[in-house]
């Protein structure tokens, strides 16, 4: 569970102006808003990467703000985060990237670490990619490795910043299906920032709209879409909400399924 109360942050100019947000345990909440509204900054504050000037951030009831480095590190162990620009470690292979946090924790034997890496890679449709170099992966594959690495320690809270940025429509659908699969499989709480509102709204339990450094409204999609607040109405004016979700259930095997005759992958 994530609880954010009256969080302020500025970088010369105010970026967050008293943000309130609550993500219930096991929920998938989409955080949306216009560019430069402070979404990524809020995610970094929740992850403990930035310290707010004021306010409170609680993860599973424990306060993140004001902790010293060691205390914060312990709390960060309960959070997995995937960054917008992926941030995989270039000097490590795919398998080493995933195993890295587990090896640093020194809590599991090597055989179990390798088993969990293989299982997590299989879960994101990249079975057998352990020895591959990160530089040789496509953008979508890198994103899936990032998602797998964020979840490798089975953290109760997962934060994803633009997990589908730069992906084609098919890969985007698979990515959001993967998030739903992770939520069910790991029973984690997910907070997802995405600019692909149509796809995001198909998988979220709730939506929070951040505008000009404040969360203007939060709730189920229907209530957010019926908001009478002008900035929210303006921002969500073009959102298309299909009656039936176009995001198919996640199937890891579909990532490696044989292509039909005459088709090819770029």
């Amino acid at each position: 569970m994530i609880e954010v109360e009256r969080v302020y942050k500025s970088f010369g100019e105010p970026v967050l102006r008293g943000v309130n947000l609550r993500v219930g345990r096991g929920r998938l909440v989409g955080l949306v808003g216009p560019p430069a509204s402070g979404k990524s900054v809020l995610l970094r504050i929740i992850a403990g990467l930035l310290e707010p000037e004021a306010g409170s951030v609680r993860v599973d009831g424990e306060e993140m703000v004001g902790l010293n480095y060691q205390q914060r590190g312990r709390l960060q162990g309960r959070i997995g985060m995937a960054f917008q620009n992926i941030a995989l470690f270039d000097h490590l292979s795919v398998g080493e990237n995933l195993a890295f946090p587990l090896r640093r924790q020194k809590a599991l034997p090597e055989a179990e670490i390798n088993g969990r890496v293989s299982a997590e890679l299989a879960a994101v449709g990249l079975a057998g990619f352990e020895e591959r170099a990160v530089q040789g992966l496509s953008g979508g594959q890198k994103r899936r490795v990032g998602i797998a690495r964020a979840a490798i320690t089975r953290p109760p809270v997962l934060l994803y910043d633009e997990p589908a940025a730069g992906l084609d429509p098919v890969s985007t659908s698979r990515m959001f299906a993967l998030l739903v699969d992770q939520k069910k499989r790991l029973k984690s709480t997910l907070l997802v920032v995405s600019s692909d509102l149509d796809r995001l709204f198909e998988v979220t339990d709730e939506v929070a709209v951040l505008h000009n450094g404040r969360v203007l409204c939060q709730g189920p999609l229907g209530s957010v879409l019926s908001s009478q607040l002008p900035p929210v109405r303006e921002f969500l004016a073009d959102v298309r909400v299909p009656a039936v979700s176009s995001v198919p259930p996640y199937d890891p095997d579909s990532e490696r399924a044989p292509l039909p005759p005459g088709a090819f992958l770029l």
Binding site: R44, A47, G48, L49, Y69, G73, R74, Q76, G77, I79, G80, M81, F83, N85, A87, L88, F89, D90, F100, P101, R104, R149, A150, T153
Partner: protein, 254 residues
Amino acid sequence: MSVRARIGILMALVGGVGVVLLQALRAVLKRSLDWEQLEESLVRLGLHSLPVIFGTALFVGGIMVIQSAPLMTRYGAHSLLGWGAGFGILREVGPILTGLMISGRVGSNNTAELGTLQVTEQINGLRALAIDPADYLVAPRVVAIVLTTVLGTIFAMVVALCGAAITGQILLGVHPVTFWNGLTGGMLGWPDFTHGVVKSFVFGLVIAGTSTSFGLHARGGAPGVGRAVNESVVLSAVAIFVMDALISFASQGH
């Protein structure tokens, strides 16, 4: 830019270097630094620098003899060749030469790597995984650079003296035993060697602190990393000469 602003920037630079060195010291004292990274850094930053140090030191030792040859010949002071070369190499040329070589090769590499990790958010990635970059990145690199500078300086001193002895024999016909006697005849001693080693230790701290701090504070993508490398190398070189002057002055008993 006002004087006050310039002083502010200078204080921020010194503060950044100080924080880096304190983080490294804390990790060493707590034994929390990553030993695998230290080993890897020692090989990559240290061992791989030896050929460059060897080649440069050998020729500098030779050049010192070539420059002093006319005077040595005019006054027939061939027996002083070992002392002259040793005095210059142990107290000045060894540490300065190695410091500048390490700054150019290792310091720039360190800044570029850390800068790239910073602008691609890989350092944030470490922190998000609850891994302290001070233990994993900063401390191993600082320790490796300081060790490389000190051991590289001692290596450079030996090689430069060999270069001077070889050139002395070829150019002036000074037998290596005569060169050795000049070196160990009593006018040079451990204080001269220690003087050079202390300098190299300080230069190592300067290079490690500056290159790491500039790398960690790189902003603005690839151009930002390039700027950080440039500024780091220039500032390291200036700081090496400033510290050299201060240590030389202090060691004269003023």
